[in-house]
């Protein structure tokens, strides 16, 4: 098979997984290959199955068919805590931090070995300086943006080789989106990020490689640099507003190159 030829470049391989939630067949054959390092983006409309793809990789909604291979090891069928323990950090959508726990506890609970937090504290506070100030406050006192940063920071406490980040820009003010993007870019220098993102500006600036999930299947994939020029493809799978953003973006980069 193809993936056997270059086992070291892919950190994660997803082979035609099928996932059901109750009676509903949500994923009908999603395949992905995430290269080590950098950001890979999952695009697609609402309800296309992006979040379910992340949850299937992690075993929260285990796939019934297909393979998930992390670093050469088959992980489908394992329980979620075991999969996470192999080095996957998860940032769920809707800023799911623990509201009754303090910021410190929200980070502490993510430790897999004693002292994880102390080891990583400087790195985390470098990325999100606000959290240092809020350290003792309970989670429900934080604003939306701060909660989102905490959710990302929580995934950084343990030594994770792969981060699954679900819609980090959702409901954030533009300034905060900017800050979040900067943080994820910095992160991707040291680990691999698989990002689900509706905000096309953010997705197109961060991702090197993209996959489009449509109706529970992998519909398209390629290099992000090619996608932003393909307005027709964007309109078809991601809608008119993303196409407009993509068009403007492409035009601007064209201008820059020309001028």
């Amino acid at each position: 098979m193809e993936m056997d030829q270059q086992p070291t470049t892919d950190i994660l391989t997803v082979e035609t997984i099928h996932t059901y939630i109750g009676q509903f067949h949500i994923l009908e054959g999603v395949s992905l290959r995430v290269r080590r390092g950098g950001v890979t983006v999952l695009l697609g409309r609402n309800g296309a199955g992006k979040t379910t793809t992340l949850k299937s990789i992690l075993g929260l909604t285990p796939p019934r068919q297909g393979q998930v291979i992390l670093d050469g090891q088959e992980i489908q069928g394992k329980r979620a805590f075991e999969i996470a323990g192999l080095g996957i950090g998860y940032v769920p959508e809707h800023r799911a931090i623990f509201r009754d726990l303090s910021v410190a506890e929200n980070l502490k609970i993510a430790e897999r070995r004693k002292g994880d937090l102390e080891r990583r504290a400087d790195f985390i506070f470098d990325l999100f300086p606000d959290l240092k100030r809020l350290y003792k406050l309970p989670g429900h006192h934080l604003s939306g943006g701060q909660q989102q940063m905490l959710a990302v920071a929580r995934a950084l406490v343990a030594d994770n080789k792969l981060l699954l980040i679900d819609e980090p820009s959702e409901g954030l003010a533009p300034v905060l989106i900017e800050q979040m993007m900067e943080a994820i870019r910095e992160l991707s220098a040291t680990t691999t990020v698989l990002l689900v993102e509706q905000n096309f500006i953010m997705a197109s600036q961060l991702g090197e490689h993209y996959y489009i999930i449509d109706d529970g299947r992998t519909a398209h994939d390629g290099a992000m640099a090619d996608l932003i020029h393909d307005t027709a493809l964007i309109r078809r799978y991601l809608g008119a507003s993303a196409a407009r953003v993509g068009g403007e973006f492409a035009a601007r980069s064209e201008q820059r190159r020309g001028g």
């Binding site: 394992k78 726990l101 609970i109 993510a110």
Partner: protein, 497 residues
């Protein structure tokens, strides 16, 4: 700003406390000092017992969404276990080797899995084979217990309670070891057969974990050693316990009962509850069914009679101490508190309740387990996604909750009759407490228990004074619950909707 935040978080608590404190002078003046103090102390005693039942209920519901209708039966089992251990532990020590032997067999499950996974069993026969193995295990287990006169063992404590006989003399001669050792052996085989069924022979979809194997060996060897030890000491241990200082024996009875309760809780969670998490309604039926079964088993062993467990000597010297300090040296049955003659043992219950509450709050606040429980009450899936084995946390919390109920049962045993139905009303009040305080909140359960205990005590007082029906005190708790739910549908400190 900080003050505002504090107020928003604690307003319920502050308002309640201010209300209660305002009620103190009112009650003191209208009722007179003595009846008031006596009623408050009775209320606190009841509240402490309600708390011991409600604490487990609220944790189990908060984390797992399980309404444990067997919680009252666990309270009752705790009372019987403590009573047995304190009065004559022959029964417990006679039963222990069999239980340990069965557990040893079951512990072999992860070790058998890699051996049987490749057995050439066709898929349609796998299920039948498992059923057959389980039936065979039950048969072997029954043969192992057959002829062991459980009722005779159970009677030892009964007799010494009823005729106040010397329990040492009542230690009936038991089966000689040469014959007895066959029983644990048979139960070990029964356990192994069950383990074989659990290892699902031929089911190749399973995953074999190496770490599980290592832990399996350790558990198996530890349990085997425990079984052998339990077989050897089953007779001398009972005598050693009986010859021990009775106060220490009581402390030990509290611990042993709590551990037995915890063990039952762990077994219950892994066997009965776990397969039904996805069917919450079945869980209601399964746990209520278990409660009936346990009540019948207890009735079979000890007859449906109420027993009175003897109070430990620390609370049993005749007379009255003038103050709590005085009681420490005199160890009398009653103590004078603000002019009221109050049973010293009930004070102990209040203290036990407070100690338990502080321990539990400390656990929730300062330990990693507590942190995981608090996080899990809100979002189990995310806790699992962080790499934490939530299933194991469930088992632990279930065991802990049931253990606390059992502890409450032993605590109550010396002053309420020990009988099969003793847990029922505590279960009812426990549920009301939990609803009142808010599902999943330990401090909510504490405040709820305090309110309910006081309501019961004052209700009883009023009923007696104005010659009303005593039902008024029972109704008062439900009325309080209704009012609180009208104002706050998720309970006083509820975080779950």
């Amino acid at each position: 700003m900080k003050l505002k935040g504090f107020w928003r978080q604690n307003s319920t608590f502050v308002v309640l406390m201010v209300l209660l404190i305002l009620l103190i002078p009112l009650g003191w003046i209208t009722m007179g000092q003595k009846p008031f103090v006596r009623t408050v102390l009775s209320g606190l005693t009841l509240g402490a017992l309600y708390l011991m039942v409600a604490a487990g209920l609220t944790l189990i519901f908060g984390l797992m969404d399980v309404l444990n209708f067997a919680h009252g039966a666990m309270f009752m089992i705790g009372a019987y276990a403590g009573w047995q251990f304190y009065t004559n532990p022959t029964f417990l020590f006679g039963l222990a080797p069999l239980v340990f032997a069965l557990m040893t067999g079951l512990a072999a499950t992860p070790l058998l899995r890699p051996l049987v996974i490749g057995w050439p069993v066709p898929e349609e026969w796998q299920r039948r084979l498992r059923t057959f193995l389980i039936l065979l295990a039950i048969a072997v287990g029954v043969i192992g217990v057959l002829g062991l006169d459980l009722r005779d063992l159970a009677k030892t404590a009964m007799v010494s309670t009823m005729v106040a006989a010397n329990p040492l003399a009542e230690a009936t001669p038991q089966e000689p070891l040469a014959r007895f050792w066959l029983r644990p052996t048979l139960l070990l085989i029964a356990g192994l057969l069950m383990a074989l069924a659990q290892a699902r022979p031929g089911d190749q979809t399973q995953i074999v974990h190496r770490a599980e194997q290592r832990r399996g060996w350790i558990a198996l060897l530890a349990l085997l050693a425990l079984t052998v030890a339990a077989v050897l000491v089953r007779e001398p241990a009972a005598i050693v316990v009986l010859k021990m200082n009775a106060n220490w024996r009581f402390v030990l009875a509290l611990l042993v009962g709590m551990l037995i309760g915890g063990g039952i809780g762990a077994v219950m969670e892994t066997s009965l509850v776990r397969p039904l998490y996805v069917r919450p309604f079945y869980l209601v039926i399964a746990t209520s069914g278990l409660a009936f079964v346990l009540k019948e088993v207890v009735q079979f062993l000890w007859d449906p009679l109420p027993y009175q467990m003897e109070r430990p000597p620390l609370f049993a010297q005749p007379g009255k101490a003038d103050s709590i300090l005085d009681w420490f040296s005199a160890q009398t049955t009653t103590v004078d508190i603000l002019g009221v003659t109050f049973p010293s043992y009930r004070l102990f219950i209040i203290v036990l309740g407070i100690v338990m509450l502080l321990g539990l709050l400390g656990l929730m606040r300062y330990t990693r387990l507590g942190m995981i429980i608090r996080a899990g009450v809100q979002d189990r899936e995310m806790v699992e996604a962080l790499g934490i084995n939530v299933r194991r946390v469930f088992t632990l919390v279930f065991a802990m909750g049931v253990g606390l109920a059992a502890l409450g049962g032993i605590g109550a045993a010396p002053f309420i009759p020990v009988e099969p139905v003793m847990g029922d009303r505590f279960l009812m009040q426990g549920f009301i407490t939990v609803v009142l305080g808010g599902m999943g909140s330990v401090s909510g359960a504490a405040v709820g228990a305090l309110l309910l205990g006081l309501a019961r005590a004052f209700g009883d007082y009023l009923a007696l004074k104005f010659q009303l029906t005593p039902a008024i005190s029972e109704a008062s708790t439900v009325i309080i619950m209704a009012i609180v739910l009208l104002v706050r549908p998720s309970g006083l400190f509820g975080k779950k909707e």
